[in-house]
């Protein structure tokens, strides 16, 4: 009983920190989604410089550890370019995660767009649609549905990857858990912390499942 009471007493401060984790995840993925659409369209563009640029971006952010990108933005960048100093830990983490996740999402979106039958673009063109119109009205609406499972996957990964921010002392769920474990000298705190991560993951999975079903009406 003692252990249970002890665990319950930690819940408020853990939930407080959960807010940071959740906010960081949702904000980063949303910003990354916007950026990744441009990256994906850039990468499949037939305009070579644009395609190369998008390719280089994706190569860099997928090719280096997220942890180092976080360090780089929070510590290194201010040394190189003082104007780009980000004082807020949350903001620095948000920028690092958005930039990183965008690279992964861009590949998901590109693959979804390219998986749509070529005949769809041809039909669009034969009806006088411009490339942009065909993308917007024909291709991307069909690609949405195929993006959802991998984007959900990415969402869950980001949720857990946010635990890396404890390294720049941002008080997310993982950092708070470590503080409690150290202060109270009890490793029991990992149990409620992991349960909270699981509940959040379950929540995202349910939301994305619903979204996928809603988008399959035409099949």
């Amino acid at each position: 009983m003692n252990a249970i009471n002890q665990i319950l007493s930690w819940i408020p401060s853990l939930l407080n920190a959960t807010g940071v984790t959740l906010l960081l995840t949702v904000c980063s993925v949303c910003a990354a989604l916007v950026l990744s659409v441009f990256l994906a369209l850039g990468k499949i563009s037939r305009f070579q410089p644009l395609s190369k640029l998008a390719g280089a971006y994706i190569f860099f952010f997928r090719g280096t550890p997220l942890l180092m990108q976080l360090f780089f933005i929070y510590y290194t960048l201010p040394m190189l370019v003082p104007a780009l100093t980000i004082n807020s830990r949350f903001l620095a983490a948000f920028v690092a995660f958005s930039l990183n996740v965008a690279a992964y999402l861009a590949e998901i979106i590109r693959a979804a767009i390219q998986s749509i039958d070529k005949g769809q673009m041809e039909a669009g063109k034969s009806l006088g649609l411009s490339y942009g119109q065909a993308m917007r009205l024909v291709i991307i609406p069909q690609a949405y549905k195929r993006m959802i499972p991998p984007i959900c996957n990415e969402f869950v990964m980001v949720l857990k990857d946010t635990s890396l921010v404890s390294i720049i002392a941002l008080t997310d769920l993982t950092f708070q858990t470590k503080i409690i474990a150290a202060n109270k000298a009890s490793s029991l705190v990992y149990i409620p912390a992991m349960l909270i991560y699981l509940v959040m993951t379950a929540l995202f999975t349910v939301i994305f499942d619903r979204l996928e079903k809603k988008l399959s009406v035409y099949e």
């Binding site: 039958d117 005949g119 769809q120 041809e122 039909a123 063109k125 034969s126 009806l127 006088g128 649609l129 411009s130 119109q133 009205l137 024909v138 609406p141 069909q142 009406v217 035409y218 099949e219």
Partner: protein, 252 residues
């Protein structure tokens, strides 16, 4: 003045020459059927006309207007995107695999281009779409998604969709090849009605019955060239070209 004129059309995919100096003129209102063995370049020729394939060299005139002229792959024509679209919109296309937009209902498929390309009001576009669906015998399927339609019904929606842009020319790229045999008839009926309406048609098909009944002229393509051009009667009873004779023997 011919409504379609191609002069010395050549198209290569790398080393492979698919079209070799194909010259053909089609008059307004004519129904021309292109026959030939597979790999003859029939579909490539059709797709070159509305720029789904880019020709390597030659000249394409639509309604007397130069759409493309190339030498060694380089274009000699400078058209603004608007001018190009204007010319391309004179042609409607029907594909072997229908290519309906699966996330749109039958009516929405038909309305999409009129609303977004021509800027027609939604209500009016829907009215026209229902009219067209009625014409192809699918008045009751307006709000069905393509997945709920049979292949024959899908192809008829696709024909209606192309007609919605009011083209002067309809290009058919093996419109019945992907259909179950019992569904071919409905599509051919729609095409025959269309042929009677006076629209110019260029049809790549293996339906000899359609060629015999509806065509004004039969063009036989083989190895990337046109090897025979004649009336359907002449072509089916007395083909001149040995390859055409061989082709007819193999399918009859």
């Amino acid at each position: 003045m011919p409504i379609i004129e191609t002069i010395d059309l050549c198209k290569s995919f790398g080393q492979l020459e698919v079209l070799k100096d194909v010259s053909l003129s089609v008059e307004q209102g004519e129904v021309v059927v292109i026959l030939g063995p597979s790999g003859a370049g029939k579909s490539t020729y059709l797709r070159s006309l509305n720029e789904l394939e880019t020709i390597t060299s030659g000249k394409i005139l639509i309604g007397g207007e130069l759409l493309d002229e190339r030498r060694g792959g380089h274009s000699l024509v400078k058209l603004t995107p608007e001018q190009r679209t204007q010319i391309l919109l004179r042609m409607g296309m029907v594909f072997q695999r229908f290519n309906l937009f699966p996330h749109k209902t039958a009516a929405e498929n038909i309305m999409l281009a009129p609303v977004n390309v021509k800027g027609i009001k939604e209500a009016l576009a829907r009215e026209q779409a229902l009219d067209l669906l009625n014409k192809v015998g699918l008045a009751d399927k307006a709000d069905e998604y393509p997945a709920r339609l049979s292949g024959g019904q899908q192809q008829r929606v696709a024909i209606a969709r192309a007609l919605a842009m009011e083209p002067q020319i309809m290009l058919f790229d093996e419109p019945t090849s992907a259909l179950d045999p019992e569904l071919v008839g409905d599509v051919l009926t729609v095409m025959k009605d269309l042929a009677q309406s006076g629209i110019t048609m260029l049809v790549v098909t293996h339906e000899m019955g359609f060629a015999r009944e509806a065509a004004d002229r039969v063009v036989f393509m083989c190895d990337g060239t046109i090897s025979e051009e004649s009336s359907p009667d002449e072509f089916f009873t007395n083909p001149q070209n040995p390859r055409a004779r061989q082709f007819l023997n193999s399918i009859l």
